[in-house]
């Protein structure tokens, strides 16, 4: 702490392709995309929506892991503030091809297989494919390809040739990977540069509009002293305040540089996810214990958003349509709140007070979420939206049932999203489940209660009637799914056409 306090740098430093960058941005909320296009004249990266929904702005962000290897993830540069890439390796579409112009396999496959029509979305697809290529050494299957591409919109091709490219880019006979010496950067050199930057201490831009402590207590102390500071993590929400609402944020306190916040702790009973853990890492940890959540996790936003956004950020934000909370409420999760050196633990159920209003006190932040690892419980989560992938819930349901050996429900907890001003439990419905045998009749009665337990809104996502009816039906679906019926279309992509020859 002392050390980092002594070393405060006001210069944002990172590696862009093979080039070391050192800038003092005029605005701390300048986006990485603005920097690339306007300051660097790297116009291959496009703005399609400026809200992280279309993927035209996708770039790779790399960091050096413990073993000195560079690891890359796709992120949306349009809502990523420039200071947040301090100490990172940024690779844009211009940096992928070799020094002699040879194409990266993702580029070559898209080109050969007619994966680009108007071409505007193409650089974003190239980068998402390049991320998948960096993360996986064997060929992607169609399912993996669609998952990797769920954050990229294309309006021309209908996706078939792009998915083909994703599945074939690992065919090295057709699409040879670049030899290391042909790349526009040398990994070892980049790792050295990143390590130097990270060793140089805390980033704090001029007039303190961006403060990025590396020490957790320093972070907490700053917030206590400056409770008005805006905490910034993945910028998947705060980014839009700037790009869409043009809000002036004042001081931003960035938590992404605090290593301790990236911790995931697992005990027998509890999974603790700290404030800086991305959705990608958090859901992977959750899936280890609850593999049945894979489909739900995959429908949470898109890979670039999950790679930036934090799990705790979703919880702290408290949006009634956030997807983590219905599940966490059903699991009876707790939040660890910290103010300065003091921590307190609160049941998540007690955290949400009213629409976008939480129990956080001034100068306090959500340090972690503690998630019970239930054994021998029935745990499930479901989401309904107009589109399966990368959509915001019309409603969502988390289910946790403790059953005795006879199939009687000892404890029932339901978490719902999209039904009220805050993420909520459904006590009336739970009461009709508790102590009863988990059978069709019990579920039908409970669903009937769930139908009327909330008075949701009608909006552009769904009518109030749909929300109530579909949520109640999800409880029915949950019961039948648990009995092995093929029901959830989101989970059964491969239903074969009937009677087809192919």
């Amino acid at each position: 702490m002392e050390n980092s306090k002594q070393n405060i740098s006001s210069t944002v430093r990172f590696v862009l392709g093979g080039q070391a960058i050192a800038v003092q941005p005029a605005r701390a909320d300048q986006t990485l995309l603005e920097f690339l296009r306007e300051d660097q004249a790297l116009c291959g990266t496009k703005e399609g929506c400026a809200e992280g929904d279309c993927g035209a702005c996708t770039v790779l962000m790399g960091h050096a892991n413990e073993t000195g290897q560079l690891q890359y993830q796709a992120i949306n540069s349009c809502i990523r503030f420039l200071p947040s890439v301090h100490g990172k390796h940024i690779v844009a579409v211009e940096h992928l091809s070799g020094r002699d112009g040879a194409l990266h396999p993702a580029q070559a496959a898209l080109q050969e297989l007619h994966g680009a029509q108007c071409g505007f979305c193409t650089p974003g697809f190239v980068m998402s494919l390049a991320a998948a290529f960096a993360q996986q050494s064997t060929a992607l299957n169609a399912q993996q390809a669609m998952e990797a591409l769920s954050g990229n919109l294309c309006r021309c091709t209908g996706y078939r040739p792009i998915v083909d490219a994703a599945c074939q880019m690992h065919d090295s006979a057709r699409f040879a990977p670049l030899p290391p010496e042909q790349k526009q950067w040398q990994d070892a050199q980049v790792v050295k540069q990143l390590n130097e930057i990270c060793a140089a201490g805390t980033l704090q831009t001029a007039n303190a509009n961006w403060v990025a402590p590396r020490d957790p207590l320093e972070f907490a102390a700053f917030l206590k002293q400056h409770p008005e500071a805006q905490i910034v993590a993945g910028m998947t929400d705060v980014g839009l305040w700037v790009t869409k609402q043009h809000r002036q944020l004042g001081a931003m306190l960035y938590l992404g540089d605090v290593d301790a916040f990236r911790a995931i702790e697992t005990s027998d009973e509890l999974l603790t996810i700290h404030a800086g853990v991305t959705h990608t890492d958090a859901w992977a940890a959750l899936e280890k214990h609850y593999p049945q959540l894979q489909s739900y996790a995959q429908r949470f936003a898109s890979p670039p958003v999950r790679n930036s956004g934090t799990f705790v950020g979703n919880v702290a934000n408290g949006s009634p349509i956030g997807d983590a909370m219905p599940l966490l409420l059903a699991l009876d999760a707790r939040v660890v709140l910290q103010c300065g050196d003091d921590q307190r633990v609160l049941a998540l159920d007690a955290f949400y007070l009213a629409y976008r209003k939480t129990a956080l006190a001034s100068g306090e932040f959500v340090r972690a979420v503690q998630i019970p690892l239930l054994r021998r419980w029935h745990v499930a989560a479901y989401k309904l939206s107009k589109r399966f992938d990368q959509d915001i819930s019309a409603c969502a349901l988390g289910v946790a049932l403790r059953l005795d050996a006879q199939g009687k429900i000892e404890v029932a907890r339901l978490g719902v999203g999209g039904m009220a001003g805050i993420p909520s439990r459904a006590p009336n419905t739970e009461a009709l489940l508790n102590g009863r045998t988990w059978n069709a009749e019990t579920v039908a009665n409970a669903a009937q209660a769930l139908l009327t337990e909330f008075t949701p809104l009608s909006d552009m996502r769904a009518s109030a009637h749909y929300r109530a009816q579909a949520l109640a039906n999800l409880l029915v679906r949950d019961f039948h799914l648990a009995r092995g019926e093929t029901l959830d279309l989101a989970q059964t992509r491969q239903l074969a056409p009937l009677g087809a020859q192919s």
Binding site: L42, Q111, T157, K386
Partner: protein, 760 residues
Amino acid sequence: MSASGIANMHESARLHVTGQAHYTDDVPELRGTLHCAAVLSEHAHGKLLNIDSSLALAMPGVVAIITAADIPGENAIGPIMQDEALLPSTTLQYRGQPVAIVVASSAKLARIAARAVRMNVEPLPAIVTIEQALEAQARVLKVRELTRGEPRQQLDSATHRLQGRWTLGGQEHFYLEGMVAYAMPQPEGCMRVLSSTQHPTEVQHMVAHALGVSQTQVQVETRRIGGGFGGKESQSSHVAAWAALAAHKTGKPCKLRLDRDDDFVITGKRHDFLADYDVGFDAHGRLTALDVMLASRCGFSADLSGPVNDRAMFHIDNCYWLPHVRVVSHRCRTNTQSATAFRGFGGPQGMAVIEQVIDDVARFLGKDPLEVRQVNLYGKTSNNITPYLMTIEDNIAPELIERLARNANYRTRREAIKAFNQKSRFIKRGISLTPLKFGISFTATHLNQAGALVSVYADGSVLINHGGIEMGQGLHTKVMQLVADALGVPYASVRISATDTSKVPNTSATAASSGTDLNGKAAQAAALQIRERLCQLVASKEACALEQVSIADGWVVSPKGSQAFADVVAQAYMARLQLWSDGFYATPKIHYNMQTMTGRPFYYFSYGAAVSEVALDTLTGETRVLAVDILHDVGRSINPALDRGQIEGGFIQGMGWLTTEQLVWVEQGKGLGSLSTHAPSTYKIPVASDMPDHFAIEFWPESNREDAVFKSKAVGEPPLMLALSVWHAIKDAVLATNPQANLQAPATAPEVLRALTEDF
């Protein structure tokens, strides 16, 4: 080796994948460039009392605010009727209408300043829905009617009769590159404009109109656009004119790039429709009479609503013989964005209505809808005249449909699905085959013309300019293939540069699927003239007959042997022969009487059909498309890879229109008339995982019977309509649970659940 007929990759493919392809916003900016943002109306309808720009102008870096008073030319714009104010001075007509343009040192600052401009507005009553407009008789254009035979009498005497009302949603284009224009003042009152447009000539005309200068003083250039789909046919002119006004007032280069949300709320979309139908039919399902009322939400101005709604009327027949028919078309004026061209241009809406009618007839009779579709098909030699009195000479629908039904195993699968649905309580499946016949040509006959310029340089390399716009469809690739063959040179020696109003004037929009048909023919004609001159040179030098000289693959072959094309070009230059040529094309045979709505508006028809199978979760209304088989007619394909791309892309775009893409306007209370689905977070176009697992495309193996370029057929718009099979498959699955269901479009999960549970 011929270049045409080959699956060449897109001419810009390498640039696309490396990020080197420049779109308008990527072109390096000139020194002193300023950036614009629009100040938007916050009222659906209102009297503009005053604009207070003082706060915005006080911001350091804000240079100017452009209002109606700053327009040196005419404050009127529109593609056919100039019935819109470029910037309104008295009346605001929709929420999102640009009222003023802020010019500042950066785009970010311009957008912040635009929000600081205050308007004093006296609200007026607003009309938002089609029903309200019908009630108030609010129209942008006169009601049109097309009648053949005696539909009313025949309805009264029909064996069976059904009536129904159906609504069909609109669609946002969601081109990935939003609207953008970059205007650069030039000496002598001239303006150079880079525009993301499908119609540079109209942009040129509208900018000249707004600036009060001649058309020679405005040059518009477009290398490529990041998708158009009709959205950049007429309304890109507004964006360019706003940028040009800013450039004119400040004397600096000015760029206006709409933020995505602004693009959504400013620009027009596909027309949504309401249809009332009254149909008479016999026991086989043969339609004996049809009376249809079509009403569409046109928004606040006429824009292209006239021809869009005309095309909807023209496609009310789809592939079917309608002996007695009346179509009445209402073009409703609403206080919403001005609805505009969108892939299919009204055709999909007209076709959707007749498919719904036919399907309802089949359900009423308890027949397979395919059987009813087949008994109603146009004949080859009789029952082959459309309601607008065009004789169909190229009907391949009967054999195309039957071939697809067999290849896709439609009938077996339909039986299997019936059996599945009887066993499956919550998941239902549905299947449907829908055909399409789409008329090719602009209905306004005069638009069916094109020009091109082919230049052979002294080294034998070839540059093409033509009036068409490359928007991803591969137009430039196809034209390069055609010109390479026409000249007899390798594809690799041919290039196309930006479409430019100073190279080829008075062009039509790249629209109506006509890009290759028109510009390909024009470029081919130009190339053939140069080829003729070169052959004549060799023939006269070698004293042989002209027919004895040929050019292929870059070699000029004559009885004396072969010479490299570049060598002959060098000789031609020394001999003072013209090595460049213009080319021109006007589509033959077509004629059309706008008053009577009769004639031969279309040169030919494109055909196709699709079988779609879906699964439906009756608990939640969610659906998934499982399998799609398409048989589509592209004539003799100039480029099979590009044509397949158009079919697949059009299909998925149509699927989005009919399933997840829903436009929602606030219809009452606070926010009346505002579009609540104004970003990709709320407006959901398909993503990769929405693609069906089985997605098979086959081309109909026959050339165009008309003399279209390379005997190919237009392919831009028609495939979108193949997606009607998805909606009907969903309907099929819904009816398996609720036979009384009245499913509307789009079939979102909420709409499907409503249809499953509500009775009518």
